[in-house]
């Protein structure tokens, strides 16, 4: 092998042992792969696949409970699994760097961004203060941050998520390491920001010939950025190869299943509009937040402005938008979890926007929500059965009747009715989300609101939950309001789509129309930024 092509990273037979009592023995088992200079290798897998464990093992940042038990990790030929703590400290940020998933929390909130990068230089180089400053300004410029001097003196909370991730990238690359590990670096970002960050990483690594180990669960991102892909399941590497081959001709059944689960960005044909009665209609719905200060001018934030929507029975309306677009605000106003400040909400014929809390109570039953995070939206101290029957019993159902309903609903969401006496922590994320759906359905609502209800789920689980939601909609002839940031999901489940930006609905129409021929500039930009939009993920038989 010529010297230039020697891999920057070579992982050989790596195994990492889990603490006793875990659901399996190894977090990672006998994994081998290489990253060549200038190459981007994606590690793809669902949660629990061990992809992050591999990244942390390379950096030497594993939690104490996890122990690498065998194998070698060669960084430019040096086995860093055998290196002591001080050697690892020398290597970090100089030869290998890492960027993380959450730019919001990965930076120290009480230090300026400039000083946080300065620490790297002060620790690893002998440059004096002026040289360090010059180098930092140069790297801030290279990651395309505007006004590097101002950014240098800013605290993290004064910057946007995308800017913070650029700071992280600047920090990681300031000393030109040979290896960059990126652990889901764009997962927490909006789709347009994600597209920019992916472009930036690709540009920088190509320019410097940096090898990149890129960890993601998103096949759209894989299609966008990877040269080679390694697919992980339960700590084992099931398949590895060039991106094009893995995405279009996967061999392993698991890879096939994963890729088949990726929702298409082209909307499914949903047929013509049915003539059902209108379940929900909003008229110029608005929500303004205003802080009050004693001497200063009050700060006013318009979270939603003039939102007109309507949903008929048996239909799914999707609201898509980036964070801060007001999509969740609208959902919460409709459910009256927060009080709208303007406009009207008609639930059937009843106007509920301004109704008093007492009068609203009987109508509460008619609108139910499924929230994003199934780990936090269930009370961990009561059984799932009690969670499900609590609502109906509040509305006068007897305990045994409610319990009978709960058993039926568990069947509807394809869970074992006998598990009603278990606690939420005994279920997986996907199962919990099914329980949340059952809990919402127990109230026999007319409108079901799903607020990013599948965003926290792995793609294969997400597919099942989406199918379940759609099946329930058809069977119960429900109206569904589906809030999501994920265009692929919206394309698959929605009859109608409203695109929101900065509190306004900028485009509203049938899914086919909005996805097929977007008119608004923002909608176009949003679609253009969707990762892997040019890649049609095949549906493979997984038998």
């Amino acid at each position: 092998m010529p010297e230039a092509k020697r891999p920057v990273l070579e992982v050989r037979n790596l195994s990492v042992t889990l603490p006793t009592g875990a659901d399996r023995v190894h977090a990672v088992e006998k994994v081998s792969f290489t990253v060549a200079p200038g190459e981007i290798v994606c590690l793809v897998g669902e949660s629990g696949s061990g992809k992050s464990v591999i990244a942390f093992t390379i950096m030497g940042l594993l939690a104490k409970a996890l122990k690498p038990s065998s194998g070698e990790i060669l960084l430019e030929g040096e086995n860093i699994l055998a290196a002591d703590e001080s050697r690892l400290r020398e290597l970090r940020c100089t030869r290998m760097s890492m960027i993380f998933q959450e730019p919001m929390t990965a930076l120290n909130p009480v230090m300026t961004c400039g000083l946080q990068i300065d620490e790297v230089l002060a620790t690893h180089t002998k440059l004096d203060a002026a040289q360090r400053k010059a180098k930092i300004i140069a790297i801030l410029d290279r990651v395309k941050l505007p006004e590097p001097e101002r950014i240098y003196a800013s605290y993290p909370h004064q910057l946007s998520g995308g800017q913070r991730q650029r700071i992280m990238i600047a920090m990681a690359l300031v000393l030109d390491p040979v290896l960059l590990i990126a652990d889901e670096p764009t997962t927490a970002l909006d789709v347009t920001t994600q597209a920019e960050i992916l472009k930036l990483i690709a540009e920088l690594q190509e320019g410097q010939g940096t090898g990149v180990l890129f960890i993601t669960h998103d096949f759209g991102v894989v299609a966008e950025i990877a040269h080679r892909v390694a697919v992980l399941r339960w700590g084992e590497l099931v398949e590895m190869g060039p991106t094009e081959k893995i995405l279009s001709r996967p061999e392993h059944a698991y890879t096939k299943m994963l890729i088949s689960s990726v929702p298409s960005i082209h909307p499914a044909h949903r047929g013509v509009r049915k003539d059902g009665p209108t379940v929900l209609r909003t008229e110029k719905l608005g929500k303004t937040y205003s802080g009050n200060a004693f001497f200063q001018k009050a700060r006013v934030v318009k979270a939603a402005v003039d939102v007109d929507l309507d949903i008929r029975r048996g239909e799914t309306l999707g609201i898509v938008g980036e964070s801060g677009s007001g999509k969740s605000t609208v959902a919460r106003c409709i459910a009256r979890l927060i009080d709208p400040t303007d406009g009207k909400i008609f639930l059937g014929d009843t106007e509920i926007a301004t109704m008093s809390a007492g009068k609203l109570r009987p109508h509460r039953r008619r609108v139910q929500i499924v929230f994003q995070d199934p780990y936090r939206s269930m009370n961990p101290r009561i059984t799932v059965g009690d969670s499900i029957i609590e609502g109906p019993m509040n509305f006068g159902l007897k305990r045994d009747e409610a319990m009978a309903r709960a058993r039926k609903l568990m069947e509807t969401v394809r869970l074992d009715p006998n598990s009603l006496d278990r606690y939420p922590h005994q279920f997986s994320g996907g199962q919990r989300q099914r329980i949340c759906i059952a809990r919402a359905l127990a109230m026999e609502p007319e409108l079901l609101i799903a607020d990013e209800a599948v965003s926290a789920l792995d793609v294969s689980v997400q597919k099942q939950v989406l199918e379940l939601l759609d099946e329930i909609r058809v069977r119960l002839n429900l109206a569904v309001l589906f809030i999501t940031h994920d265009l692929r999901v919206a394309a698959q489940i929605c009859d109608y789509v409203a695109v929101m930006s900065k509190g306004h609905v900028v485009e509203y129409g049938s899914a086919e129309q909005v996805f097929g021929a977007p008119k608004d500039d923002y909608t176009k930009a949003l679609f253009a930024a969707a990762p892997g939009r040019n890649w049609e993920f095949g549906k493979f038989a997984t038998a």
């Binding site: 400290r89 940020c93 120290n108 909130p109 009480v110 620490e119 690893h124």
Partner: protein, 313 residues
Amino acid sequence: MLDFIIRRLIAIIPVLTVVAVFVFLMLRLTPGDPAAVIAGDNATSDQIADIRTKLGLDEPIWTQFVIWISNILQGNFGESFFFKKTVAELIAQRVEPTLALAICTLVIAVTVAVPMGVLAAYRHGSLLDRIVMGFSVLGFSVPVFVIGYCLIYVFAIELGWLPVQGYIRIGVSFWGFLERMILPSITLAVIFVALIARMTRASVLEVLNEDYIRTARAKGLSNRVELMRHALRNAAVPILTVIGLGIAGLIGGAVVTESVYGLPGLGRLTVEAVLSRDFPTIQTVILLFSVVYVVINLLIDISYTLFDPRIRY
């Protein structure tokens, strides 16, 4: 910021009004007659009535209250029934030992407790951690006077290193002052060390799980920098809050500590005034304590901004 400070200072007014009304009523409603206490055991009922008239105690309660409040607003805190001095003079005489005790206690508590808590958090689950936590449970549960007498017995009586009791003004002899301050401050500091060490440990432990600590590690920083520069400063706000709340406990602790060590401070003055039903003195001391408490907590709130740039008022 200025807006915040002004608002907080204005908020002191209702707090003090409530404290004033409450203290006044409590004292008047508790049994016991200051006139009888002043007059002594052999006084006739005429003499007692005389004294009562002289002190204004025969007026209706609300008249007494109005007179008292209007005097205070003019800066006149009245004359002590018992000590035959103005209350202002009395407090001025007694404030130094208490102030010195409070400052020494806080300095000892913070310098001992914060490193203890940080180390316990860093070596989470180790023997050191368990020792710190054990000490902190002990520090909470042993009464101040027990610690006081134990320290006196060991260091003053058995070893003879330090004087048993008393107070020398800092202006008279700095060494004498220091010698007599050491034991009382340690006595009073024990409970604060326990409190602050516990809070520091919890707070640092939480911060050590934060993503930015992982980032610091990924940068190749040393443990010391990671701990002191990244963890401690982020953990500071809850620690400061506890110190602020602790000031209230300090006042209560000062009463006991000053009695044990015979320090002529405000704590002892309070005890003496209560025993002799010296209404003007009790009222003024309590008002003073409330003002100090509110102002210190305002200062603590303002100091948050030094540690966390996200906090803006």
